[in-house]
Structures are given as C-alpha cells and as structure tokens.
Amino acid sequence: MKIICVVKFVPDVDNFTYDHEKHIIIRENSRMMVNPDDACAIGFALKMKQRSPDTSIEVVTMAPESVLPLVEDILRVGVDTATIISDRLYAGSDTYATSRVLSRYLSGATYDTILTGSHAIDGDTSHVPSQIACLLDLNHMSYISRIDESSFSSSLARFEVESEQAVSSYEIQMPAILGLTRASGYRLPYVRYKNLNMDVSDRVTVIHNDVLCFDESEVGLTGSRTKVVGTHVKTYKNRSHHVVTTDQEGIDTVYRFLKDKQFI
C-alpha cells in the first residue's frame, strides 16, 4: 500500500513575535514544525507501516526549501520518501492556489490513499484537504478522531469523527483523503538520539515549477483569490475596573452590582 501524507510546516503559534508598528508577524525567529494534525497523519501512516511492512509512505509538502532539515527528520523516523514542492513563484499562495499546486503534483503521483490533517494552526482555514479532494475528485472526510487499523485497506477505510454532540462512524471508499485531528492521538515520533545524524538526503526530492508548469498568473499572490490586507493583534476594551477585596465591603459592592444588574 502506498500512502501519501500531505503536510504543512507551520510556525510555532505560541511563540511568535509581532511587529506592532508594521502590523506584521516577524517570521525569522519563529521556529517551524509539522502542523500538529498533519503530524498525526504521519503517525498513523507509520503505525500502518508497522502493521504491514510493505506499506510505503511519501510525505508531500509545499514549502520553502528551508524546511529541508525538518523534512529530513521525518525521514529519520521511518517515512520512505519526501517531496518538497517549492518555487519562488508559489510564495504568497492562498488556499485556492496552494490546493491547485498540490493537486497537480498529486495527480501525477501514485497512491492508495492520502492522509493529512484537518486544520492548520497558522492559517486556521481547513480548506486545503477539501479542495484537493475536489480537484482530484476523491472522497474526503476530515476531523477523524480514530481510524480502524485492522480494516484499513486500499479499497476501504472505517473511522470515527468526533464532534461536540456525537461520535459518528463512517465508511469511505478508497482512494480518499482522510484528515486526522489531534484527538486521534497518533504521534509522529521524534528522531531517536542514535539517528540524529542519519543521512537521508537521497530520499528527498525537491521539485520546482519546471515540473509542474504553472503560468505565473495562476499561482502565488496573483493566482490567489484572497489577499491578506492587514493583521493585528487583538485588543480588548478596557473596562473601568473597580478593585475591592473579599472583606464585607468588597462583597457588598459585588452584591449591589449583581442586584443592580438584576442577577439577584
């Protein structure tokens, strides 16, 4: 079985610096990582490979070439090959353009199934899996919280999707795109200490636009259908806050407030 994992490298959203004057995120010093949901997809694929060693896994990402060391780490934990789709022309692509680039590559690739995450922590859109599914005309489901490992095959997958109200089970015909969530608990392992310097360079391919042949107008900022015109860190209205303590006077203040506003 051949599994392709489509993954995104994202900045650590917990620790980024923001230029409050220019209203931009300073990307230089934010470190990149595999998007957490996408990491679960690789984690699941590795688990399937453990079950049936003839499984081969390819990781595909559209990213600047600077992610190479991170991609190599993925190869050091058992993923077979990796493809980095990277071209200056693709920079600034929105989800629409990104999905088109990825789909063009995937349409020429062989696979039994495509695994990915449901949601990226930087863009927060969840568009790409659905849009690739649309372009490749594949069945698709996201928000998967569990996949039945024993029935997972190149013709069928059974899985559960957890929402706030319910846990639903589904069956999907393969090939399909399956989007996992962190709730699935599948883990992308870390590189073991002894493998930290393993040479995996022969298993990474970097492809540029000379392979995918997009016209300049179809990709990047110009090929996008949406554009970010500004960002800002949220501010909240400051309330004229009144500071009291838990002594009777303070409690009475709270009591009167609640009474005035008719909570009591």
Binding site: R31, P189, Y190, V191, R192, Y193
Partner: protein, 490 residues
C-alpha cells in the same frame, strides 16, 4: 544466584506481607525521580529489583544485610522515594529494596534536652507535626518535607529551607543507629559534644545507602516562635547584588532562617506577579522577638549598603504567601507523574552546587553563558535560571533550575537535554573549586565526577567503601563510580 531461590529464602526470613513482588511496585522501585519522564512513559532501561522487603526492626535489617552480603545481592535502602539523583535507581539484575515502611515509630521526644529519636521510616512531616503540638520544631524543611523520611534525609545529607538558621541535617543529628553489610549494628550515642576520635556520625550521614543502612536517628529540636516570623522581599538588579546582600547579613553574624536570591528566570516561575523581570531577594527572620527584630534591622542595613543595586522593596505579604505554597505534597508529585503521561513535559530539573561567596556569581555567569552558547537544544529551553537559598559564613549555594520542551522520545530525554546541561554546571563548578552536590547527594549520575569532586581525599572515601562494604552490595553505582553502570548513563 537465581532470583527464585532468593525469593524462596526471603520467605524463610520474613513473613509473606513483608515481601512485595508486585510487578508495578517493582517497576516503580527501579528508578527514582532522576528518570521520572522515562519512568512515567514506561520506557525505563534499567532492571527492576526482584523484591521490596519491609523489615520490622533493626534485627531484621541486620539479618537481611548479612544474607545479601553473603550471596552478593545488591541492596537499595529506601525511605520516602523523593530521591532526585538516581540514589534509588537499580543497576543490578539481582537487587532487593529494603524499605523503611515499618520502621515508623517516634521513639522519644525529649524537650528538656532538646532532642527527639525516630526510626528511619518516620516522615519528617509526622515528627514536625508532633513537635508543633509541644511548641517545638525540627527546624528541617526541605521542599519534600511532607514525603521524605528520616533515613533518606540523613542518608542524603539533606538541607531545609530554614538552613541558614538551623543548619543542614548534619548539624541536627546528635546520634544514630546503623547496620553494616556484615550485619554489624552500631549505635552512636547522643551526647552534646565529644572529642573521641573522628566524628563517626559522618560515615552514616550522607552515605546514600552505599555504606550502611540507617535504622534510627536522634535529632536536635528547637523552640518554635511562629508568631514572630517576619518576611522581607526586594527586587534587585542582578544575581550578584542579591548575593552581596546575603553575604553582608551573614558575615555580620545574623541568621535569618530563609535568605534567598533568585535570578529573573527563576523568579518568573514563582513571582511573576511582582518580579518585574528582575531578580528577587527575600528573607525570613525567625525566633525570639529580640532576635527577629535585630535580624530585620541587619537585613535593612545590608539592603541600605547595597541600595544602588536594589530596585525596590516588595510587599511582605507576597513573600509570605509564596512561602506558604512552597512544599511539594505526594499529590504534587503524583500530578507531575500524571502530567508526564499525558503531555510531553515535566516540571524541570535542578542541579545544586556550592562555593565561596566570590566564586558563586562567577560560576553562575559561566554556566549561563555556556548553556546558552553550547547546549545544542538551547532553543528548546523554556527556563534556565537559579537561586541561592542556603548561605554559610564562607559562601553559599546555587540551585540551578531548568526546563525545556521535550522534543524527543522519552528514552532520549536525559541524554539530549538534562545531561548536557548538568555536565556544564558540574564542570564549571569543579573547575572553580566548588562542590557539584550541595544537598541532593551524588546519586548515580554524578558518580562520573566523584573522584574529581574529592580529589586526593577520594582515597578516604574509597577506603570507607572497601572497609564497610567489601563485597559491594550496598546501592551499586551510587556515589562510587562503576564502569559497568555507564551503559545506563550514556
């Protein structure tokens, strides 16, 4: 010898309920908090002991030790299980843990002579609570007070938060009883002082279970005046200023019970609500009124002397509040364990060193510099700082604290993160002439540097081991370096 045979023979010596072979308990006994993360994740690489035994009295300890001595069975003495340096970790296939569970009686509280006698398995908190009822205190308050037991506290040369006033455990132990591998029971009598040759209490105190099993201790107890406690806190510009103020107070002859300086990073963990990105200097003065007020005056004078480095005084209440929430209960320890199972993180590590006044700030700066520049995973550090918390006439300690995002498999955590940092701290300390082990003991992982720590005096230490434990059955790998154990380190 075969473990089955050993278990059979143990049954001949003890009752069934004194022998524990529960698999989970044995796994738990295979390591202490040094390998806490790997342990929580169930990936320990060390063997489990074959049994945990619970002797009921000194005679049984003696019988067990001589049996193990005769058959070359490794023995790990155990108390409250709060060891942090591998003292409880097992490196031998054939090991028995001798747990002080049933050595739990308070033998005597003698307020007139200011001393109390307890068995090794009495938790510090239990004695403290008893003493408080009669207006006394042990004066001993390590952060692990609710859990640690007297045997362990003495065996590790532990120290408490009030040490500047009351001293470390070695200043408190008046006499003790211990058992050697050949079964010999020795009692060191309780006198106020003597010149009867070398002070042999120190063979047992700090032996970390590598020379003898401590069964009973007599400690000093102190009148307690909690109503007089006073707290003082300041924000200071740098660690060095804080340490200068500490020194000023101490060398002028004053003994606040708590006297600490925190680096901003460490302060952030405790005092984020007021530390304002600076160092925190704090004191607690304790004792009779007159002493407390004299101590407070002396602190204020010392602060005045170094006023250029003082940013401002903080509300005493903030210090007192913090102090009241400092100790770790068993629940906290269990919580951290649970957290480590669910999350890729723990509460961090510490390495505690000591040196004289002028050297400590130098070590501190050198360590910070080297960790930031040399440590390969420096960008994963979420915290790197320290505090000085135990001061003496000639110097003080530095308690380095650090934590990091654990971006590796649990099996590799120590080798990727903790060891490289610890190595830098130990190297810098030894290079500057300080001690690499202020109060947690050497345990197993710092045994790599025991020779260097002691230099030519290692000869004396080694002779003790040869004399008292010729068969090497006591806590294999602890304090004394063992080539064979290196596989568990690297």
């Amino acid at each position: 010898m075969d473990s089955k045979v050993v278990l059979e023979q143990l049954k001949g010596m003890l009752t069934v309920d004194q022998i524990n072979t529960d698999q989970d308990d044995l796994y738990d006994a295979a390591a202490d908090r040094y390998k806490k993360y790997a342990k929580a994740r169930k990936v320990l690489n060390v063997p489990s002991p074959i049994a945990i035994v619970y002797p009921k009295d000194t005679q049984e300890v003696s019988m067990l030790l001589s049996y193990c001595n005769e058959h070359g069975i490794n023995v790990i003495p155990r108390g409250g299980k709060t060891a942090t340096e591998g003292g409880l970790e097992n490196w031998k296939e054939l090991t028995i843990v001798i747990d002080a569970l049933h050595l739990d009686s308070i033998c005597k509280i003698d307020t007139y002579n200011s001393q109390a006698t307890v068995q090794a398995g009495v938790p510090l908190q239990v004695l403290e609570d008893e003493l408080r009822k009669v207006g006394y205190t042990t004066g001993h308050s390590p952060q692990s007070k609710p859990v640690a037991k007297y045997g362990g506290l003495v065996a590790t040369r532990s120290i408490g938060q009030f040490s500047t006033l009351y001293g470390g455990i070695e200043d408190m132990v008046v006499g003790l009883e211990c058992v050697f591998p050949d079964g010999q029971i020795s009692r060191i009598k309780n006198v106020s002082r003597r010149a009867g040759g070398p002070d042999i209490r120190h063979i047992a105190i700090g032996n970390e279970g590598a020379l003898c099993y401590i069964t009973e201790v007599t400690v000093k107890i102190f009148r307690y005046f909690p109503e007089n406690n006073k707290f003082l806190g300041y924000l200071v510009k740098d660690v060095e200023t804080g340490i200068k103020v500490l020194r000023e107070v101490i060398v002028n002859g004053f003994r606040p019970s708590v006297a600490r300086t925190y680096s901003p990073e460490d302060a952030a963990q405790h005092f984020y609500h007021f530390y304002e990105n600076s160092c925190v200097l704090l004191f607690m003065a304790e004792g009779p009124k007159g002493i407390v007020s004299a101590t407070v005056n002396a602190i204020e004078e010392a602060v005045e002397t170094y006023k250029d480095g003082i940013i401002k005084q903080v509300d005493s209440q903030l210090i007192e509040d913090w102090f009241n929430h400092l100790n770790w209960s068993q629940q906290d320890i269990d919580d951290e364990m649970l957290g480590m199972i669910d999350n890729d993180s723990h509460a961090g590590y510490t390495t505690e060193i000591s040196a004289d006044w002028e050297t400590i700030p130098k070590i501190y700066d050198a360590v910070m510099e080297r960790v930031r520049n040399e440590f390969e995973r420096a960008e994963d550090l979420t915290m790197l700082g320290g505090h000085s918390s135990h001061s003496y006439l000639n110097g003080t300690n530095m308690y380095f604290v650090y934590n990091y995002k654990i971006l590796c498999e649990p099996e590799d955590e120590l080798i990727i993160y903790h060891h490289p940092i610890q190595r830098i701290i130990v190297e810098e300390t030894l290079k500057a002439g300080g001690s690499m082990c202020h109060h947690h003991g050497i345990g197993k992982y710092r045994s790599e540097w025991t020779r260097e720590e002691h230099g030519s005096a290692y000869y004396m230490l080694e002779k003790l081991k040869q004399a008292f434990d010729p068969n090497g059955i006591m806590n294999y790998g602890t304090i004394f370096p063992q080539e064979e154990g290196m596989k568990y380190i690297q």
